[in-house]
Symmetry: D2
Subunit: 227 residues, 4 copies
Amino acid sequence: MSGIPNGAIPVLNAGFVRLVDTMGNDMSVVRSARVSYGKESKGEEADQKLINYLMEHSHHTPFEHLNFTFHIRCPLFIARQWMRHRIGSFNEISLRYTNYGDEDFWHPTEWRTNNKHNGQSSGEVDWGAEGSLPFDYCLHDTYRDIDKAYKYLIDSGVAREQARAILPMGSYTEFYWSVNARSLFNFLKLRMYESAQKEMQDYAHAVYALVQDMAPWTFEAFENHMM
Amino acid sequence: MSGIPNGAIPVLNAGFVRLVDTMGNDMSVVRSARVSYGKESKGEEADQKLINYLMEHSHHTPFEHLNFTFHIRCPLFIARQWMRHRIGSFNEISLRYTNYGDEDFWHPTEWRTNNKHNGQSSGEVDWGAEGSLPFDYCLHDTYRDIDKAYKYLIDSGVAREQARAILPMGSYTEFYWSVNARSLFNFLKLRMYESAQKEMQDYAHAVYALVQDMAPWTFEAFENHMM
Amino acid sequence: MSGIPNGAIPVLNAGFVRLVDTMGNDMSVVRSARVSYGKESKGEEADQKLINYLMEHSHHTPFEHLNFTFHIRCPLFIARQWMRHRIGSFNEISLRYTNYGDEDFWHPTEWRTNNKHNGQSSGEVDWGAEGSLPFDYCLHDTYRDIDKAYKYLIDSGVAREQARAILPMGSYTEFYWSVNARSLFNFLKLRMYESAQKEMQDYAHAVYALVQDMAPWTFEAFENHMM
Amino acid sequence: MSGIPNGAIPVLNAGFVRLVDTMGNDMSVVRSARVSYGKESKGEEADQKLINYLMEHSHHTPFEHLNFTFHIRCPLFIARQWMRHRIGSFNEISLRYTNYGDEDFWHPTEWRTNNKHNGQSSGEVDWGAEGSLPFDYCLHDTYRDIDKAYKYLIDSGVAREQARAILPMGSYTEFYWSVNARSLFNFLKLRMYESAQKEMQDYAHAVYALVQDMAPWTFEAFENHMM
């Protein structure tokens, strides 16, 4: 379960986002908004203007004809947030079948502290003379204990579905996600926003980087009117 | 609003179904079920067997990564049934903007009678010496009256959104429909079935004819296990 | 299919909206947002403040635990718009079984004209010396022709599912609609808005009048932040 | 976050399912299927027969007017399966705000082994002379290590959203769930089934026990035709 596939954008220490498939482009939005065949375009300027108009006035249904499939590798605490988005399709690897190695856990590149103002967001911090090294030790050490215990249970014949109870939320998982552009707007708006967990923002930005060129007018309009 | 576009399948006297766009094929199902990259196929036999297994055991989520966009022209009484399918995306032409010509109405090729057994389905019938010609006269005549009245109201300056109240359910409309294969199975199962209205069956069969070759193993499995 | 049931709000010439059932109230929103049991309320002021906060910051999921069932009678051209709202449940009377009387059609109380500015909305108008009476004659007359033709086809044994092709969009239908408050907000926002067809607005206002008292803090917050 | 609220059914070592609210009963199904007001019932026998007919012929929409809200406490590995059901509403407690005590983790009452036949389900097992006691030790010990590390990170000022990466899948969470009967049928069918993880089955059975009496004809028909 390791390695970054070709064309994927690496995220965090061992995750990635990969664009697997797409349906449509800016013209799919234009075409379905006009429900016309034959001469579908009214010229570049008129077409782009229509897309802007639809976005500005929250006429979002034409954007549902634009679709994407992604392949994602992320920690469970990220996957749990992701799968709360109900308009879309998920297929996740079954943890009941996976063998965990000790590289299959999330490690941060920087440790943050709770934001004093709202208790939720977290910001950069001066960790004092010692720095944040002790936290790395703590994390590594705990993951190692967990991994050892998990392997002991599995090797003793305990069912995976029970043994996984000790696997941490920092374990990586993988899934396929198909979503239309309208539902994607909602995801990006919530998850690229500064109040989202920093690690979630990293994934949302990777997703966004992969789709922007697929429908440039659409995502320009999205940035102008929804972000 | 007339004419059959290239590649479209004609349905009824003036309708059609056209496949506009697709995302994925049989391998999209296989890939998302296995959530693997790199060597995605395990050989044709194993791949097809997997698709069959998923269908047989009602593991339908991998089929959601297979998507289609259709362009449809059908009478309003058909569109109303179609749009009851909530898992999917619709963009319909606005009747508030359309000018109706007298070819924009549905005419049957044969008249059926109520089925005596359940009062719902309808079957072929012997209409006696006179045949069903009087029904054609009745239909044409009523459409002509309606069309004349509609034009009178519009020409007098009445708002289209009010004038359309007299337009008949047999008026043709057009829409774009995007749907994933799982939701499409449900549509096809209900609408190709013999208890569906014959005109609806005709549309469902046209839809099916357009997608079958896009994912042959998937639709073969669909026929074997869901129909 | 006529008559206005007890407790229903009459709409248009022969329609109504009736509240059949509800689940929850303001406290359902508070409770699910806090996911607490035992002492669920933190006092009226704090509870109302929480509801306002959720609405203002678009945290709409807690409002999904508040549910309503309505019984509606409306013209088909209204029902068609209504059923485009996919998050909700509809059960409609089958036109295949219904006998139409000549009171079962929509008649306007006033005729509007197309708005010159956007071609869509319509406004009040001075119809000149003759007034709008000719439009009433035209409408009545056309409905009568249609009704006569429909009855002729039915009496001759033609299947209802074919005969209904000549029934006008102004025919009344009935349906049950269950919807959660979050999806209802979206409906109300779109359909009470001035750009919606006037007849649709009338229905949306009737729906709103029936729910407001069921969750007064919720709908006050809705008005302040979403309308 | 501990204690079992009144009326809740305890599940596993520290979980529960509680029925918070309901909308409708058997008559809601009957009424919406008939879309009638006034004399809604046609007698007990006819009403129950209708419910059976709807279920047998997969006419499931009338069951969507029957709704339930549950309050659930379960381990994260169960919650993750639960929230894959997209037709329904979830509000979960935020782990970012919760303090974990050492009773907030799942402990099994019996250990199972992997089923040899399909590698997924798991069955009872003879664990030899030593029994399964060593697994209990292993689990307790690992939970204690995790809890200690989590508290160390939190006390040092590390953001909860990062520290939670070491929390195990066996941690309990709480959520509210609103769902209509049709979507509930699907949940129960999948999760009460013998191929589901035993701990998941326990929750599904608790859910079922709470709703059965709310709509006895409906759930009797469900058992006869869907299980």
